[in-house]
Symmetry: C2
């Protein structure tokens, strides 16, 4: 078996290609690929705790603290206290954060389509299914 045939290598490199592609697109909004993803999730569910945000984005709490720090410095989100649990925070989009996120969501759809431009509709569907199958198979101790 050649190293290039290793599924871990293939996944990692396809992922890197995607992240680079997406990074260049969202760079014009002043955010990184990961930051853009976090904003996208916040657009779906605002006011959630760091823990829940980490669950949805599949980001480690250590990683997320840094990402939130930079988003907060950029004025895109705010950390507000949660009166019901003083250990937790509530992450909220600022006005600027909401505007940026809205703009990016349009761009994201275009980017998704363009990134998979060379694949047929059937292939895109299959790819998403297979990637999902992998993740669910290895979810928490599979």
């Amino acid at each position: 078996m050649k190293a290039q045939d290793c599924i871990f290598f293939q996944l990692a490199k396809a992922s890197q290609t995607g992240v680079k592609f997406w990074s260049q697109i969202v760079a014009s909004f002043g955010v990184t690929a990961v930051q853009a993803m976090v904003l996208g999730f916040l657009h779906e569910a605002d006011q959630i705790s760091s823990r829940e945000l980490g669950e949805r984005t599949q980001l480690d709490s250590a990683t997320l603290t840094g990402v939130l720090d930079r988003l907060e410095s950029g004025g895109l989100i705010e950390r507000t206290p949660n009166p019901a649990d003083r250990r937790a925070i509530r992450v909220v989009l600022t006005t600027k954060g909401k505007a940026t996120t809205l703009e990016m969501r349009t761009v994201m759809e275009e980017a998704n389509a363009e990134f998979l431009h060379d694949l047929s509709d059937q292939e895109r569907q299959t790819l998403r299914e297979l990637l999902g199958k992998i993740r669910s198979a290895h979810h928490k101790g599979g």
Copy 2:
């Protein structure tokens, strides 16, 4: 479109799942996932320059310098001078590096099979093809 349906997110998370899986396996050899990958490529082509190794592994020269540093500290590789080009180095596996790499290649095949355990032969084949298609479509300015 939900953030979870973003192909960049799906690729990144499937990749992370793979890297974590592979990392746990190679940890017993005292190397990281990336280090194991580099060793795998060196097993195919020893004595190559850092530039060529970077081409094959798709690792940035900045990243590769650090990876080679740690492999060299671990006694798995050595940097030797290239008399034909004094700018370049030649990366060679040590005896220990060769032994480790040999052992790992067996484990790698098992890990590949186990990681894709929930997929049929047809699905595995399709997945590899689609990932390859993505990478080649975006290779150097696509």
